[in-house]
Amino acid sequence: MVEFLQFTLSGISFGMVYAAIALSLVLIWRGTRLLNFAQGGMAMFTTYVAYEVIRQTGSYWAGFVVALAAGLVLGAVAQLTVIRPTLGKPELNAVIITIGLLILLEGLAGIIYGGQFRSFPTAFSIIGLKAGSTPLGVSRFDVFVALAVLVTTLLLAVGFRYTTAGLRMRAAAFNANVARLSGIRVARVITVGWALAGLIGALAGVLVTPSTFLYPNSMDSIFVLGFTAAVIGGLDSPAGAVIGGLLLGVALSYAGGYLGSQGSNLTALVALGILVVVLMFRPDGIFSGARVRRV
């Protein structure tokens, strides 16, 4: 029972990181039906920015804030420079450009910092918390990870739901033609979507890197898990992305915990298995309202 609680809590903590990546993918997918393969690479790059700022200033929080700002800017700049020219062209063009962007960012990071693994600090202690004498399997930092993503998600949800800017983004995502005819500058809205995605990706990078170490490919596996979470949630739904991330995190935590010493090596397989099962039975995600249409 104690084990179960530990696995669940640590699963939630990791799941929130997958949720953040999933959320950033959903933000871009909703606006343009484009899967941003560079999302993990962008998060890796902004984490290097945080690493550099922390090294120069000695302040974790300076690095944290600068990384988020860098994610915002990187998302907007990437959209304006290389993605916007592909609007209205075949969808594959944009997909290939995001892959190119990923290779570019990983190459740049390698040129500047080399390929070695670097440790990345945490904001809070990573010593496991205890309830009385029972270890909970999570640390203060894990709690911070979960809360940071949760707060960001709630802020986004409230912003989308209750502000004019949020309504503008939803309208542009659901029906770009109606949005344009109503005066919404959809191209600008898409740039804002990329900027927000960059910010959330940067948050995920800073939160997960203490456990993965920092190197040019450090976000690759996290990206795959985030993508899986997004598909579980249906790619269209921000709430689905978060729930998908949590489900995946907990499932992988159980797999790693209960399947013995080999369990942690099986996480990629378990994630792939979940992805296949979801795509077979609920291709629109398990939270999609619409019934699957069989042709």
Binding site: T164, L167, R168, R170, A171, F174, N175, N177, V178, A179, R180, L181, S182, G183, I184, R185, V186
Partner: protein, 277 residues
């Protein structure tokens, strides 16, 4: 184009005479609202998709505050005309004059700010948003960064008064509305943007006859009471000519007839050839 109306039924003739009287009344009433209304002149407009030319030097004049019916068979270029005027399709040539200012080549985001609202065919509500959110989208073209709360509330109240059925459903998702309610909602959304020219594409498409009559009545009211210049694309030529001041018939991207609505309606040869009634 001037065939005698000798073979028309009495009832139809009577209806037309009544229509004529109402038009006179409108001209007098419209004089006091001149500032709000705008004329729309389309000059030698050329537009197409790829290698296909959908509009070949189309010229149309819609006087301020009037209803102009654009008629013709499928593929005549009616929808493309509206899309080119609203900026959804970039014209390849010609001018779109709103109160004398050429607006051709601008995008729809700019044209709706200039006062041209386009209601595309197919009851294009955003199904995933509530009725009220759909209406609020009509405010996105308002000038200024943050419109006053009171102005926003007044704009919504005005449409809820006009369309009581929307007021009852304001918190419902637009996807749950019936076809007629959706058509009301898209027109209301366009009106929230405070248009001077309203482009309506097949507003009666797929609606029950009773609902269609309601929509047509409302188009007339918008022109008479609000002084909005209306360009109405319709498959149902008879219904459109019954409420229009002028009619324009397109065929294969060219204007083949342009006259007073009554004149077109009484031109038997034209009706048989192009309008199917």
């Amino acid at each position: 184009m001037s065939s005698p109306a000798a073979n028309q039924g009495d009832a139809e003739q009577e209806g037309r005479e009544q229509e004529g009287r109402e038009q006179e009344g409108r001209e007098q009433e419209g004089a006091g609202r001149k500032s709000a209304a705008a004329s729309l002149v389309v000059e030698d407009l050329v537009a197409g998709y790829g290698g296909v030319l959908a509009l070949d030097k189309v010229t149309i004049t819609a006087e301020a505050g009037t209803i102009t019916a654009v008629l013709g068979a499928n593929g005549a270029g009616k929808t493309t005309l509206l899309r080119a005027v609203s900026g959804m399709v970039r014209p390849r040539g010609g001018r779109v004059l709103l109160d004398g200012t050429n607006r051709a080549g601008r995008g729809p985001e700019d044209l709706v700010r200039a006062g041209i609202a386009h209601v595309p065919e197919g009851q294009g509500v955003i199904a995933e948003l509530t009725v009220e959110e759909n209406l609020r989208i009509g405010m996105m073209s308002w000038p200024g960064l943050a419109p006053r709360r009171a102005d926003r509330a007044a704009a919504l109240a005005e449409q809820y008064e006009r369309f009581a059925v929307l007021a009852d459903r304001r918190r419902k998702l637009a996807g749950t509305l019936s076809g007629g309610e959706r058509q009301m909602l898209v027109i209301a959304r366009a009106l929230v943007s405070r248009p001077r020219v309203l482009l309506l594409d097949e507003p009666s498409l797929g609606l029950a006859p009773r609902i269609m009559t309601q929509v047509m009545d409302m188009v007339v009211r918008l022109s008479r009471e609000n002084g909005i210049t209306i360009v109405l694309v319709e498959q149902n030529a008879r219904a459109a000519l019954a409420i229009a001041d002028r009619g324009v018939v397109l065929n294969l991207g060219r204007v083949v007839a342009s006259a007073e609505a009554q004149t077109l309606a009484s031109d038997v040869a034209l009706r048989h050839h192009y309008l199917g009634f």
